[in-house]
Amino acid sequence: MTHPRQIKELAAIFVLLACLGGSALAQIPLSEFEQALADIPVSDISGHLGALELGLGQPGFPDSEMLQLIEKLAGAPDPTPEKEALLSGVFIALEEGLPVDGLVTKALEGLARGIGVEQIRASLQQRLTLLTETRDLLYAAGIFSVAPGSPQSVPTAIPTPRFNVLVTHISDTIADYLEGGGSPFEGQTLYQEVRFRLISLEGATLVAEDVDLVLRRVEPADLTRVALSAVT
C-alpha cells in the first residue's frame, strides 16, 4: 500500500520533471538558429552554431531575443560581413562564458532605432571589452563564480548566475557612463554611478551581500582602469 507521504513525494517529483521538461521544450531548437543564420548568410555557420549551442546550455541565455536579433539582421540592408562581425562579438562572449543578454538587447535597440550595423558593432565591441575586464576585475578582487550547487571553495565565491548579473550591471554602468560623455579618469564619480545602480537593484536582481562584497573590494581606481580599457 502506498503511503500518503510517498504520494506527495511522487507528485513533487512529477511536478519538478514536468517543469524541467516544459522549460526544455520552451527553449528554441538549434535548427531554428541555423535557418536564421543561413538567411543572412554567414560564412562560418558551424562555428556560430557551436557558440549558440554553448549559449543554450547556459542558464538565463536569452534565446528568443538572440533569434530575433539574427532574423532582424537578415532583413537589414547592411553588408553581410558587417552583420557577421556584429554577431561574432556576441558569439565570442558566449564562448568565453560571459553573459550576453546586455549585448543582445543593445543590438536590438540599435536596430530598432535605425542605427547602422557597423555603429552597433562598435558599441557592442566596447561593451564586450567592458564585460571581460569587469569579470577579470572581480576575479582580481577575489570574487569568484561557482556553478550552482557546487561546494563553495572560498567564502567570496558566488553562484554563476548571480556573478553574471553583477558583471552585467557593473559593465553596463561603465558603458552608459562612457556613452554619456563621462571621463574614465573620474574614478570617484564612476564608483558612485556603479554604487547607485547596484544598490538600486538590491532585492530586485541582485543580492545585498554580493553588492556589499563588490563595494568593499572594488575601488574607484579599479573602475578607471576598466573604463580606460574600453576607450584605448
Binding site: R113, G181, G203, T205
Partner: protein, 193 residues
C-alpha cells in the same frame, strides 16, 4: 543772580509752560492708544498661526489640538483624493504604484500626455524594443499602458507617431544610448520600490 535764584526762576518758568499746555494734555493717552490701534497692520495668516500656536496659560494642549485637527483634515482630504483616483485599491482607477502578481511580476504603469498624438507606443529592453501600444480610451490625450515586469532595471522610450522620445518625466533616471536619451525605470524586488 546766584545759583539758588536761578533754580527758582527756571522751576517757575517750566511750571508756567506746563500750566499753559495742560488743556492739550488732557486725554493724550487715550488719543495715542486709539491712533495706534487704527494704524495697526492687518493680521496676516502667518501672524494668525503664530498667535494661535503661541504658548498660553493653559499650557501647550491648545497648540497640540490645533496641530492634530489640521493633520486630521489633511488626512481626510488625502484619503478622499486617493479614493477618487483609485490609489487605495478600493475603487477602480489609475494605479500609480506597482502591484505585484502571483508570479512575482509587478504591473508597472507607463503614462504619457501627448495631446495631438494619434499613435503612441513604448519600446524597451522588456519587449526586445518591439512596440507595445499605449491606449487613450477616453480621448483626453493621456496615453497609458500597464505592463507586468519582473524586478529589474528597464530602459525604454516612447514612440509618438513614429518619433522616439526617451525623456519620460516619471523615469527614475536617463541614459544616453546611440546618442539619444532613454528613460530608465527600476522595478523593485523585496522592498517593493
Amino acid at each position: 543772580m546766584n545759583q539758588h535764584e536761578f533754580d527758582d526762576l527756571l522751576r517757575n518758568t517750566l511750571r508756567e509752560e506746563v500750566d499753559e499746555m495742560r488743556p492739550t494734555l488732557i486725554g493724550l493717552e487715550e488719543r495715542v492708544t486709539t491712533e495706534l490701534g487704527e494704524r495697526q497692520p492687518r493680521l496676516r495668516v502667518s501672524d494668525w498661526l503664530r498667535q494661535l500656536l503661541a504658548p498660553t496659560r493653559g499650557g501647550r494642549i491648545g497648540q497640540f489640538s490645533v496641530v492634530a485637527a489640521t493633520a486630521a483634515v489633511c488626512l481626510l482630504i488625502g484619503f478622499a483624493v486617493a479614493t477618487q483616483s483609485g490609489l487605495t485599491g478600493g475603487a477602480p482607477g489609475i494605479r500609480l504604484t506597482p502591484s505585484r502578481s502571483a508570479d512575482g511580476n509587478q504591473e508597472v504603469l507607463f503614462v504619457l500626455p501627448a495631446l495631438d498624438a494619434t499613435d503612441v507606443s513604448i519600446v524597451g529592453n522588456f519587449n526586445a524594443w518591439e512596440p507595445t501600444a499605449l491606449s487613450d480610451d477616453d480621448d483626453d490625450g493621456i496615453w497609458m499602458a500597464s505592463i507586468p515586469l519582473p524586478p529589474g532595471r528597464y530602459e525604454y522610450a516612447f514612440v509618438i507617431d513614429g518619433r522616439w522620445w526617451g525623456q519620460d518625466p516619471l523615469a527614475d533616471e536617463y541614459v544616453q544610448s546611440y546618442g539619444e536619451y532613454s528613460s530608465v525605470r527600476y522595478v523593485g524586488g523585496g522592498d517593493g520600490a
